[in-house]
Amino acid sequence: MGIKWDKILITGDPLILGSQIAILLTMIGIVVGVTLLKKWKYLWTEWFTTVDHKRIGIMYIIVGVLMFFRGGIDGLLMKAQTATPNEKFLDAQHYNEVFTTHGVIMILFMAMPLLIGLMNVVVPLQIGARDVAFPQLNAVSFWLTFAGAMLFNISFVMGGSPDAGWTAYFPLAGKEFTPGIGNNFYAVAIQIAGIGTLMTGINFIVTVLKMRAPGMTLMRMPMFTWTSFIASVIIWASFPIFTVALALMTFDRIFGTHFFTVGGDGNPMMWANLFWLWGHPEVYIVVLPAFGMFSEIISTFSRKMLYGYKSMVFSIVGIAFLSMLVWVHHFFTMGAGPAVNSIFSITTMMIAIPTGVKIFNWLFTMRKGRIEFTTAMLWALAFVPCFIIGGVTGVMLAMGAADYQYHNTLFLVAHFHYVLIPGVVFAVFGGLYYWWPKMFGHMLNEKLGKLHFWFFVIGFNMTFLPMFFLGLDGAVRRAYTYSASTGFGPLMLVSAIGAGILAIGFGFLCYNIYWSARYADRNISSDPWDARTLEWATASPVQFYNFAKVPEVKSIDAFWYMKKHNEGLELNEDELEEIHMPNNSGLPFVMAVVMGIAGFFLIFEWKIAALVALLGIFACLIARSFDTKDGFHVHIDEIKKIEKAWRTVDKEVKNHVS
């Protein structure tokens, strides 16, 4: 036992060697760059130690976008490998590692951080709060997610990537069949990020229930807040299960227990069971906040309030409830018996009903509206037809007996990309275009945005639509190659070309971010879209205390009401009070670093060192417990100054929309 230092780095593979060098150079570059620009202090005081929900949200978004790159390149590699029959671009082992990391990264380190990031930025603003309920915990959550993501990513160059699929089914994922340490990365890195996510869930439940501005009853909350809240509830309900499942996996792999092994009377199927008990709710965790974003965007750009608000709330609650009761549909073919399959077919299909209610409500929100085709709105519009295709194929999969023919084929792969990409990625893109001014004080360019949109949407359909037909023709998932005689070649090629177009689309987003950061107009209104909810009632970018005076809420779409009745828009300086804000703290960062180190040791099976590092966590916790700092107060003069700066400037409301 013990670490074998000379074996940590993967050797002998040009691709990996290249990345190792690239990573080293990038790190040196960053360190040198930051040092030269004398930005260390700034980074530390303004970002690493921040507890401000908006900054934490932005850091989440940065992580998510970076991970989208990583996962996207994985996707492109796969598409390149399967573009033609008998391709030799990647070997089997490589391909296995690539789709495993692609799945994990896309769901856990791309979708989750992006959604949680936007939740962080927006939810406290939408409910008129100054921060989340537990700002320090929020920072801990972020840094744990970050540590988990980094730990997972170094598997590429150190020790070896996990290669048993994002589902990591046992017995394959056990030491008996995957003896290297690749899957330890899966078990430990996701665990660390998962704990962060669980704490986020709890944090947002409390935030939404306890921090709402006066007058904001539950049934007046904006839809994004509602969906974030319900997503948090699902996190709270499902992540503990995953925590346990991963812990048991860790025990099996590192301590030789027999939970899921073939030997020792383990029960490998129990892993699948626990995994999907978490895994299915997880897909609704990512899709619900996305639904919320679409609701905001659609209602803003149709200039109408959300149609059927109440039924929207009931349907998300219904989806959340059902989401915990359908997990077996991922292994109908395990043979748990016809009764089991029948029940779970029914519960699964029932989810179509509340989802349909949402779809029709969105359509009727647009009806009689005045639909403006901003980029954000385009994403929301493209979502509807694309998601319907994903949704109805989901219902086809839900029919247990039919699933015997679809299961683990490219039909399934097409289904979940058709729900995940319109459901999550389109939403995040839409959300970014929509809330960008709130976060950074300038808009993203609409022209580039539209290029981004068209390339991405067309590329997406071209990539994944063929997969339905390939699946029905018997093409299985996770196969690194196929022979020419199968006849899959042409459609696979179409799909690969589509992925290229998709990548160009994403390239436009990156360029857009760069272009806008440099050239976009800074002189914009705090409410550039003429929007409806409270986050637009304050400055852009938002001042650190969010609201000088907590707004009073009288209706749904509170800010719209304020604008229509001209209430509460002006600031009465006499009513200002001192604002209490939490202190920054370096502890969350330190804790995540220690956790990352402990995780690293555990992954490399150096148990003593991991234990020692873990003691560091306890030290941090004790330090936190004895910490008596109770935040600071913002003086009225300072508030006045900050408020004047953005309220007095005359900005044209719509000078940005092309």
Partner: protein
């Protein structure tokens, strides 16, 4: 900004283009047996409703987006504030409920019927075939005939086949799309699947559940023969094929991709992996992919076979890690004849 209008026709046309672009023979839509045909009926039934949903929603979507788009003319139009409509809400709740019910009933019927001998074949005497999946090959034992094959399957046409599925290690999924749906094979337990081929011909069977490096090549062929041809084949095998010994069987279980093999006895005499208390055969050392050695735990069963047979003490695990599996092309392991896994790992 009317570009939006393109999206819908585009989406509608794309499938048609794709369908005409390739040959439309999709195996799921061309069943060669009653089980697959039952499922196809169900699929076709569901497609009607899915088409309905897609057409209605796309239509509504296109209409609304087009009709209410912002134009120069309606610049001053103030949309009304609507809270919703109970009547409409009821309509779009109830209709999906009806659709779901319409889908549920045949689904459940099919789920139950697939567990049994397909209708119309109940009075025919089924033959039993034990299917064992191993990394990365399929082993078929015909207990009544006393023969065993690897990676190919011969069955008499028009006769129900009772497949008893199990696995020697990883979980796999046994699928012959032309004949019916798939089912998992799992170590130390048994699942069952009834299939019938009602036309002679050769079909592809595969594993759909990912199980490591050799997964993509884990295919087999199924030949549905006339009962006479099948009987003749059995007889030929009994006369000509070699016998499987326990030792060669353990070699067979080692990770490798193989061609076809045939034996005139079955491995069920040594071990039935479906049995909860059967021996476990795992070969962790043969699965190394990267340099970093993880700890491998001793297991009582394993020490008896693998370690001793390979002459590898556990302490020597470091040596194993030197071998570079990455340079080993899986295709090359695809040699027919003897099992190769054991030999291959020296290099």
């Amino acid at each position: 900004m009317s570009k939006k209008g393109f999206l819908i026709p585009l989406l509608a046309v794309l499938p048609v283009l794709l369908l005409s672009g390739c040959d439309t023979h999709m195996v799921v839509f061309e069943p060669k047996g009653p089980a697959a045909r039952d499922i196809l009926h169900l699929i076709n039934w569901s497609l009607i409703f899915m088409a309905l949903v897609v057409v209605v929603v796309f239509g509504l979507f296109g209409y609304i987006v087009w009709k209410y788009r912002a134009t120069k003319e309606n610049k001053d139009y103030e949309p009304p504030e609507e809270h919703g409509s109970t009547k409409l809400e009821i309509i779009w709740t109830v209709i999906p409920i009806i659709i779901v019910i319409a889908l549920t009933i045949p689904t459940i019927k099919t789920i139950y019927s697939l567990e049994k001998v397909p209708a119309g074949y109940k009075d025919k005497k089924p033959i039993t075939i034990n299917v064992t999946s191993a990394d990365w090959k399929w082993i078929f034992s015909y207990p009544d005939q006393g023969v065993e094959t690897v990676n190919y399957l011969n069955i008499p046409v028009g006769t129900p086949v009772k497949f008893k599925l199990t696995s020697a290690g990883t979980m796999n999924s046994f699928w012959i799309p032309a004949l019916g749906g798939q089912k998992y094979t799992m170590a130390k337990m048994e699942t069952q699947l009834y299939l019938v081929a009602d036309q002679t011909g050769e079909y592809i069977g595969k594993n759909t559940n990912f199980n490591g490096k050799g997964y993509a090549d884990m295919e087999f062929t199924v030949e549905a023969q006339s009962p006479q041809a099948f009987a003749k084949w059995v007889k030929d095998v009994k006369n000509k094929a070699p016998k499987l010994t326990e030792k060669s069987y353990i070699n067979l279980l080692k990770p490798s991709n193989l061609g076809r093999e045939t034996f005139s006895n079955t491995h069920l005499a040594f071990v039935n992996h479906a049995d909860m208390n059967s021996k476990t055969y795992t070969f962790p050392e043969l699965y190394r992919n990267h340099d970093y050695p993880g700890q491998i735990f001793k297991e009582p069963d394993n020490q008896n076979h693998t370690m001793k047979m390979d002459g590898q003490a556990e302490g020597k695990s470091m040596d194993m890690s030197k071998m570079n599996m990455k340079n080993m092309d899986m295709k090359n392991m695809n040699m027919s004849g003897k099992s190769t896994g054991g030999e291959n790992n020296g290099n």
